[in-house]
Each structure stands twice: as structure tokens, then as C-alpha cells.
């Protein structure tokens, strides 16, 4: 019965339902505190995808207050709006006085002050992770898109920025953002994933939440110019085989891209989700190579140098190469992000309130094309059943899957397994380790880690990251 409310107030079963049940009753400040304290219980981010933060909870109960409260809710805990929100007074009865007028937000809207989802930033401040556990649909809000920077986020005035294309071309050219926007453009909805995502999870369950195990993947609608269009302007020498892409950040990030990719689906993008791309995504322009590891989609793109050979930059030799400890050799130029999926609800650090119906949901994606199917296991991989895929299923794009599940209250291990349209199926940890060898060394990442993720549900409903190797 609580589910009918969950759509519009972002609530959870026990606390908000209890609060809603009291509509019309005056409640004491002590009761209010008790509800507010719910967020501090050990289930932390709550039992649902719509897990209540303190704000969401007070927001929900604020609705209760609107009905007939005789007391003022404690406000001190959210006197300051969370990132991306503005703090407005909460009306005693929003039907009895006009709401705020348009324009007071300066013309650029903000999310509710009761919503506080943010990216999780790693201790070295070099990567931030999308809060997948509380995401909906397939599009990642631009402000929650994952980030990975190697020299901070440059602040670039587009009027001063140029993209220079040179090397083995007939006509070296430079383009401003305004120039770029005059070309015919395309918009495509693509996922982007860091090849280091989930690398920490190979040998053991390491991170507590799906945000931290899988959050270096996001999906946006990207708009830009096909790189092939630009290369048609400059012309290519017959020996052209690779293109060095270089950024205007402090890392002057550089990667070598095979010419075939540049002439097929590569884009130079300037917009994300219908507006100018965010600075942390490469404003004013970035390379976008669909289905390939995020690092090679060079942000703050300033230069493309056409060559007959790769450059063997630091980021394609020392890093972003895949050491195969089985042989001692490293795979180089491993670009494609292969099929992968993860259950986002229920997931690590949530708690189910009790036996009964739950809709398992999550995301699946493949750098090789469309997701063909997603299978769900609730018994640690012994048996599998097909999940429903949310239309439209787009190539090289995150796909939302859903699976109805009645939990009997006994321990369960939840897994999802994606297969893409090429027939490739997401492997197990054991398969990846058997193929590439184990790796468990400080400072060494197991790139392209796409193993099947397991979430263990205990009898008390608590959910945690578990590993098939124990």
C-alpha cells in the first residue's frame, strides 16, 4: 500500500507510511525527531532505491505537516540547501497561499531542497562516482555523471579555445566552438564507462555500495560533429593510420586512436543532455568514442595529430593497458567496454523491511551494441530467469532491466548477467581470473573488469556486497 505514494514523494515504506498514517493528527516534536532519526539507523541509505536521506524524510513528513500540523518541524538540519538545490521556505499549507513566482531561481531551475544525491569522490579526489542506487531510467543527470580527472578540471573560456587538426593531413585547420557548432550535428545517447570501474572487486568484495563498485559508468545524450566530417575538411594523407587526441588540461591528456574509429562513429561533442557539456566532462568540446573506455574520449580537446603510428603515450602504456599475470604480458590498446550489468536495487548497504514483493532493477550495457538479454539469479547463479528490458533498447547505451521477486525472508544472493547482441555474455569472476590471471597489487588496476556482481541479502534484510570467491 505504501507504493502508491512512492512515485511522487520519494519515500520509503516504514517511516513515511507511518507518517502518512498520521495525516490529520497533530504529532509531538518527540515523534518528529524519532522519524527524523530513522535515517541514522544502521540501514543507512535505506531499504529502497528511493532510500530516504534526512532531507527526503523530512520532505515526506513535511507533506504530513501540510495536512494539519500544529507544530513546526525541526529545520536546523537542513537550513542549507544541498548541492544543486536552493532553500525555500516550506509552506504550512501550500494550497492556502501562492507558491513562489517564476524567475526567483535566476532562470535556471534546481532540484528539490529535499533531494541530496551526490557523486561520491574518492580519497585522492581524482574520480567521482554516480549514485546508481538511487537513479531512475537510463539517463544520468549531468551533475551526477561520473568524473575521472588526471590534472583537475580546467576552466576554459570557449572564446579562447581552439581545436587544431594537423599532422598527416592535406590542410591543417583550427576550429573554435562557434565553428564546430556550424557543422551538421548528430545527437546520440551513449553510456561512457571508465575501464577501471569495478577493478577493485576482482579478488574480493571491496566497496560497500553499487555507487562505489560500479559508479564510474553513466549515460548522457551527447551532441556534436562526426569526427569524419572534420577529417573530410582537412583531408588525410594515404599513410594516415592513427590520430593522437590531446586535452587542454594540466595532464595534457593524450591517447592514440585508430583512424578507423575516427572515420566511423567518433564524435567531437559540445553538448550533453540538451545543454552545453559540463566543465568536468570537457567543456567546451571533447572527443567521444562510443563503446570505448572513457579515458580515450579526450576532454577539453585541443589537438588532433594524424600519424601513421600510435604514440605510446603514458596513458596507453603505463596505464590503461591490461597486465595479464598469467603470461606476464600486457594487452595494449584494449578499447572496448564489453557487456556488463549490475543490480542497483537491492544493492549494498540497503535493508529490505521484510519478506514480500520487490522489483529488482538495474542497468546493463555493452560497448559492442545493444543488450540482447539480462538474466537474474536470486540463488547465487544456480538458476537464471529473464528480466524485462525497458524500451527503447539502444546500442552502446545503458538499458534498464526489471524483475519481479517475492522474497521469502531467507538469505539470498542476487545476480544479473547481461548478454549483448553479438552473443557475448558477461563472465564470472572465476572466468576472468582464469583467463587473465589474478591481480591484487597496490596501485595496479584490473581494467575491463565486467564480472557478474553479487549482492547478498541476509535474513534480516540487510544487503551487502559479496564475492563468489568468499
Amino acid at each position: 500500500m505504501s507504493f502508491s505514494h512512492s512515485d511522487h514523494i520519494g519515500t520509503n515504506a516504514c517511516a513515511i507510511e507511518a507518517a502518512l498514517a498520521r495525516i490529520g493528527e497533530a504529532i509531538t516534536e518527540a515523534q518528529a525527531r524519532e522519524i527524523a532519526a530513522f535515517e541514522d539507523c544502521e540501514c543507512k541509505k535505506g531499504m529502497f532505491v528511493l532510500a530516504p536521506s534526512r532531507r527526503a524524510l523530512v520532505g515526506g513528513t513535511g507533506l504530513v505537516a501540510a495536512a494539519a500540523m500544529t507544530m513546526t518541524w525541526p529545520r536546523a538540519s537542513h537550513a542549507k540547501a544541498p548541492p544543486g538545490a536552493m532553500e525555500y521556505p516550506v509552506q504550512t499549507d501550500s494550497t492556502k497561499e501562492p507558491g513562489r513566482m517564476m524567475g526567483v531561481d535566476g532562470g535556471y531551475g534546481s532540484r528539490s531542497q529535499f533531494e541530496s544525491e551526490v557523486r561520491w569522490v574518492n580519497p585522492t579526489k581524482t574520480a567521482s562516482f554516480t549514485p546508481m542506487q538511487n537513479g531512475y531510467g537510463t539517463i544520468t543527470p549531468s551533475g551526477l555523471h561520473y568524473e575521472r580527472h588526471h590534472g583537475g578540471i580546467p576552466n576554459i573560456d570557449p572564446a579562447q579555445h581552439r581545436l587544431v587538426i594537423h599532422g598527416m593531413v592535406d590542410r591543417p585547420m583550427k576550429y573554435s566552438l562557434a565553428d564546430l557548432k556550424r557543422f551538421p550535428t548528430v545527437s546520440r545517447t551513449y553510456f561512457m564507462e571508465c575501464s577501471g570501474t569495478t577493478g577493485s572487486e576482482l579478488m574480493r568484495a571491496n566497496q560497500p555500495t553499487v555507487q562505489r563498485t560500479h559508479g564510474l559508468v553513466s549515460t548522457s545524450e551527447w551532441t556534436g560533429v562526426p569526427l569524419s566530417t572534420l577529417l573530410k575538411q582537412t583531408g588525410l594523407k594515404p599513410e594516415a593510420a592513427w590520430v593522437l587526441a590531446e586535452g587542454a588540461d594540466a595532464a595534457v591528456m593524450s591517447r592514440s586512436v585508430p583512424i578507423d574509429k575516427c572515420l566511423s562513429d567518433a564524435l567531437v561533442v559540445f553538448a550533453q543532455n540538451g545543454e552545453a557539456m559540463r566543465p568536468e566532462q570537457g567543456y567546451p568540446m571533447r572527443l567521444f568514442l562510443p563503446g570505448w573506455e572513457g579515458n580515450i574520449s579526450i576532454k577539453w580537446l585541443r589537438r588532433l595529430e594524424v600519424s601513421d603510428k600510435p604514440f605510446y603515450t603514458r596513458e596507453e602504456t603505463s596505464r590503461y593497458s591490461d597486465l595479464i599475470t598469467k603470461t606476464g604480458k600486457a594487452r595494449i590498446f584494449t578499447f572496448t567496454m564489453e557487456a556488463k550489468s549490475v543490480i542497483t536495487f537491492p544493492s549494498g548497504e540497503m535493508r529490505l523491511p521484510g519478506a514480500g514483493f520487490y522489483e529488482i532493477t538495474g542497468l546493463a550495457w555493452s560497448g559492442r551494441g545493444k543488450v540482447a538479454r539480462v538474466e537474474i539469479s536470486t540463488d547465487g547463479g544456480k538458476t537464471w530467469s529473464l528480466a524485462a528490458l525497458q524500451d527503447p533498447v539502444l546500442p552502446i547505451c545503458q538499458t534498464r532491466f526489471r524483475f519481479p521477486w517475492v522474497w521469502d525472508g531467507t538469505p539470498a544472493t542476487l545476480q544479473s548477467r547481461a548478454t549483448d547482441e553479438t552473443g557475448y555474455t558477461q563472465p564470472t569472476h572465476q572466468q576472468l581470473i582464469a583467463e587473465r590471471g589474478p591481480l591484487d597489487a597496490p596501485g595496479m588496476l584490473f581494467y575491463h573488469m565486467n564480472a557478474i556482481q553479487s549482492w547478498g541479502v541476509a535474513a534480516d534484510g540487510s544487503v551487502k556486497n559479496v564475492h563468489p570467491l568468499g
Binding site: 605510446y312 606476464g328 595494449i332 553479438t422
Partner: protein, 196 residues
């Protein structure tokens, strides 16, 4: 029958009109092959930013450096993060931390679960070392070292890594000829793997 005939004429006219419209629209919507946007990039503009050095050393700048000079550069510009012993400094804040900052050692570990990948044990080309230091180091002041200083600090690191000896002077000719221990340690991507 008359009506049918009239309908047929109307249909034919409509079809002709439609095809005419379609043709004219197709003409109007055509995309040219080339566009007159952007500006030619001059040689000077390109030279100012074309800093990438491929494995054959093409584009390496004039200048030179050796171990002794490199030791001085290293101690003032590098040691704070990479350690006086080139073994890295643990838990550096706000930058890639720990063992990834280690520069030397690790030979023979690449088949180990505890692999140690450093310039010495892992990097395939010395030119990459020059390129990366020049473009991105030191972390707090990237691009601040002169060509001589970059050659010198490369000589210092490669000597400490026992790849060259202390008397080696690195410049545009000698640097690309340095043979890195893991030069042949890289293979093409064999994926997709055949998981059953």
C-alpha cells in the same frame, strides 16, 4: 465512373506534386562535402602545441641532460611525491597515490598477483618518459621544466632503474635508442574472450 476518373486524375496530380516537392526539398536539404568553417592552422600555431613524442623520437627538442643534472632536478621537483629513493610516497593527498608513483624496481614481478609496474619493470619506451614528464610533471607545475631538465631527469630515473649508466647523455638521438626492459611485454587486444 466519371468520379473514378476524376479521382484518378487528382491522385496522379497529387502524386506528381508530391514527387516534385520531394525533389525540390531533397535538393534544398543536400549537404555539401566541404564547409568553409574554421581557419587554416599555421606552422607556428601547430609547433606551439605539438608536444607528443612517438617511439621513434620524432619531434624531440634540442637539448641534453645526464644523471648528475637530473639528480638535482629530481630532488627539487620530483622527490616530494616519488620519494628520495624513487619508490613513491604513500598516501599523497589529492593526486594518484601510493605505489602508482613508484618509478623503479619490480622487474620479474609481472607474472605475480602482486605485480609491481614501474618505469623500470613496465614502460616499453623511454620516449614516453620524456613526453609524459614534459607535458604533465611536476604535478603542481606541469610544463615548467626545460628540455635540458627533462632529458636530465629521464637520465636520472633510467640510471637509477639500471637501464642506462651514469655516463649516458640523453638527447634527441640517444633517448629513442634506450632499450627498455619490458619493450616486448605488450600484446594486441585478443578480446572478446570465449567464456563458456
Amino acid at each position: 465512373m466519371c468520379i473514378h476518373w476524376a479521382d484518378a486524375v487528382r491522385t496522379a496530380v497529387a502524386a506528381a506534386t508530391a514527387s516534385f516537392v520531394a525533389l525540390s526539398l531533397a535538393h534544398a536539404q543536400g549537404y555539401p562535402n566541404t564547409f568553409q568553417f574554421g581557419q587554416p592552422a599555421s606552422e607556428q600555431e601547430i609547433a606551439a602545441i605539438a608536444i607528443a613524442i612517438p617511439a621513434d623520437g620524432k619531434g624531440l627538442p634540442l637539448g641534453q641532460g645526464d644523471y648528475a643534472g637530473g639528480k638535482q632536478v629530481y630532488e627539487s621537483a620530483c622527490a616530494a611525491c616519488h620519494g628520495a629513493d624513487l619508490m613513491g610516497v604513500a598516501n599523497m593527498p589529492n593526486m594518484p597515490a601510493g605505489a602508482s608513483l613508484r618509478l623503479i624496481g619490480g622487474r620479474g614481478t609481472l607474472t605475480s598477483t602482486k605485480a609491481v609496474a614501474t618505469v623500470e619493470s613496465y614502460w616499453p619506451y623511454a620516449t614516453t618518459l620524456f613526453d609524459y614528464i614534459r607535458r604533465a610533471m611536476p604535478f603542481t607545475a606541469p610544463g615548467s621544466l626545460s628540455a635540458d631538465e627533462v632529458y636530465a631527469v629521464c637520465a636520472y630515473i633510467l640510471t637509477e632503474a639500471k637501464i642506462i649508466d651514469k655516463s649516458t647523455v640523453l638527447d634527441a638521438q640517444t633517448l629513442p635508442r634506450v632499450e627498455m626492459p619490458n619493450r616486448d611485454g605488450f600484446v594486441p587486444d585478443p578480446r572478446p574472450e570465449a567464456f563458456k
